[in-house]
Amino acid sequence: MNYIETLLDKNGLMVAFLVTGLIMFTAEGISKFVFRKKIPGSAIAIFAGLVLAYFAGVLTEGKNGIADLTGLSGFKQMGGPVFRDFAIVSTAMGASFAVIKKTGIVGIFSLFLGVIITFSSGALLAFSMGITDAESLATIGAGACTFVVGPVTGTAVGASSDIIAISIGAGVIKSILVTIGTPLIAKYIGLDNPKSAMVFGGLLGTTSGVAAGLAATDAKLVPYGAMTATFYTGLGCLLCPSVLYFALKAITN
């Protein structure tokens, strides 16, 4: 049986593609049949990834989640920073400056405000719970933005894997909260026209959450919210490991 393990490890990346595909397929099914699409499949899949990593950690006492299990070492490649950053950069395709202009000053203003306020309140919260180093604070503040900005920032500033895991968790919770909560509060925050949808997308930015939440509120608003939300992750990846991290470092020193 040994040759099977060797084979799986040698083709680790392909095994990772296969297993991730199975996770996503299952998550889509759960989203459709259990939550009637109220929670997007992507959020469930990411959450499932974290849960699997937890059990793998308990089982192996290792630090690399399911990559510590025999045959699944390829996950380290697939989920590593190179593929991740490459895929994130590719999502910028299709964004045009004409669209940014159309969004107007308020859209841009809400983007900056959204990233800065979310980052600061996340970092402040982490600080109040006993975390003091600028690297971890920045990572958790960034994770409060989205589950992508957190790990990108964490890798860039050199935070530990458990802090990065917390930042992903925070981002996933935000995505789920926005998805479920948007239709419930839409009335109270005036979310009924394209411009307020743009402000909404800019302030919250978690693309899957904003898109799913707006779809459940009023499908016509989706493109407007998504328009600003798509810039949020990019802006977060730009600001969090740089200006905002320096500000934190200056304060903690």
Binding site: G49, A67, I88, F97, L191, L238
Partner: protein, 118 residues
Amino acid sequence: MLLRGVALLAGCFIAGQLLGETLGRLMDIEANVGGVGFAMLFLILAQNELEKRNLFHVEMGEGILFWSKMYIPIIVAMSAIQNVRVAFTNGMLAVLAGIIPVIICLSLMPLLANKNQR
């Protein structure tokens, strides 16, 4: 053509990472300063510029689109390799950091949206 798109993406990626690392060096810190963000900016600039000159082929876009569709699966794989067991002791922090900033941002929503309507 397909690979030209992937090559364009890779070029922007390397340039952005290089700029981020260089900035980190210049500021004397062990960090990549906004590399991913810069790479995204480069890609937007390059694509807009190429489209203006009618040089951005549909197939080039498809080469990049493949990777942008791989984005969520890769994020799933990434979350599966984190040290969640240790993070679990701080699970409350993840929950609060996911909820409280959203509430703060939402409370600002009426202010911004109203200002906008006029």
